[in-house]
Symmetry: C2
Subunit: 237 residues, 2 copies
């Protein structure tokens, strides 16, 4: 499955690659990725965060890691913030410009985010995936050995439909599904859908995160929620 | 820009093609598309609804138009519900199965949703686009003459970032941007972002729809909100 040349080039540097996907957009993949990465770093792990959403790279704003990456020995040096190494296409294109690219361009961009970036030693590389089950998911699984994938869903039925497709895509790409996270649980979108999906797919239910205005505020300011809060939500991440 | 063979095949049948896009996933493109289509049909227009989100086709569940489409003269007959003609990849693939397709497959699927579907006379064809600025957006603009595009955004900054990219993509594909709709306005995600983006891009601000649990409930049951409510939200659609 993975391309042995790329796998060899990162072997020994990146120990675990955790993909965060869902199938559906806007369910909280990036928010969960950023907070998981910060929570792991707070516990002392060496963490990397890779934004694989080529069309809509939100990680630079969400982490507050602004600026232009440096180059060293013809490789791009990841940004560094909150004790995490961070890389995103968002650093390589002007902010308001769309990448109107077809599939093959996505494929080579995903490969380059591994081969052309000077990643230093990492225990966990969290890879934030775009919605859908297309080029980015395929290129990731066909480039590097992915340790496992976390599926993020919202509680309502259409989100569960797409989360099933997301899980099916990982299974067909030989990537183990580590479990389901239900996000934005509460009165507006409902609750319980994530747990019943986990039962149906016979994968662990990792937990749920409630719909909380403070989380959106933390996203807007570029300071991930877990860094400033010590409550049930931070514990859930 | 558009492919004259496809444009000719639908000329006279489909008068206006309105794309509903955003760049970001989960902001409410499908929900807005379904409710706009139903609102136009309630006013007596001939309406079609095309789900161009090949990886995550949610329109069949959202409209409650279940079942398998018929074939006539080697073309697929659109489903019919709430007085609207409806077509989606969701009718052509098993429900829980992911389409793990690369870009070129998306391109031919989008073209076939025009050439191989027996659309009858339509005043407005509402096209629900997937997130991103890639194959589906390009294939639509390169297949048929798109009258204009509505950009749906949520109020928060990361959604506005992606909405700008979505608008930029339409401009580069020579599709006029008809305006901005801000969705899920309220205490959780904020308000005012859509209107300021409309000013920035010098396009009309069409209006805002508040975050309302009743809208999610209507999505889960397959009966679009505007059909059963006569309130401010329905008026906004
Ligand atoms: N638990 C939550 N409570 C409130 N808002 C949330 C929560 N999780 C995510 N959000 C908001 O929802 C929006 C979508 O989340 P995002 O992480 O961008 O989704 P995705 O990466 O799946 O597209 C973000 O702007 C974020 O502010
Ligand atoms: N104004 C609203 N209030 C409450 N829920 C909404 C609203 N608009 C959309 N939703 C919910 O948000 C989810 C995402 O919307 P959807 O239309 O699927 O977005 P997209 O097509 O952009 O991915 C849906 O499940 C829907 O129930």
């Amino acid at each position: 499955r993975p391309d042995s040349r790329i796998a060899d080039s990162i072997a020994g540097t990146i120990k675990n690659i955790i993909a965060v996907g869902s199938g559906k957009g806007g369910v909280g993949k990036s928010t969960v990725s950023v907070n998981i990465a910060c929570a792991l770093a707070k516990e002392g792990a060496l963490v990397g965060l890779l934004d694989c959403d080529i069309y809509g790279p939100n990680i630079p704003r969400m982490t507050g890691a602004a600026g232009l990456p440096l180059e060293r020995d013809e490789k791009i040096v990841p940004m560094e913030k909150h004790g995490i190494q961070i890389m995103s296409m968002g650093y390589l294109i002007p902010p308001n410009q769309a990448l109107v690219w077809r599939g093959p361009m996505i494929h080579s961009a995903v490969r380059q985010l591994f081969t052309d970036v000077a990643w230093r030693e990492i225990d966990y590389l969290i890879v934030d995936l775009p919605p859908g089950t297309g080029d980015a998911q395929m290129s990731l699984a066909q480039s590097v050995p992915v340790t496992g994938a976390i599926i993020v869903t919202m509680p309502q039925l259409v989100a569960l439909d797409d989360a099933r497709r997301g899980a099916d895509a990982f299974t067909r790409l030989s990537v183990p599904v580590l479990g389901i996270v239900e996000n934005m649980t509460g009165a507006v979108f409902g609750s319980g859908g994530g747990a019943s999906l986990a039962d149906e797919l016979a994968v662990p239910f990792i937990g749920s995160i409630e719909l909380e205005a403070g989380i959106t505020a933390s996203i807007n300011t570029g300071r991930p929620y877990v860094l400033d809060h010590d409550d049930g939500i931070s514990a859930a991440y």
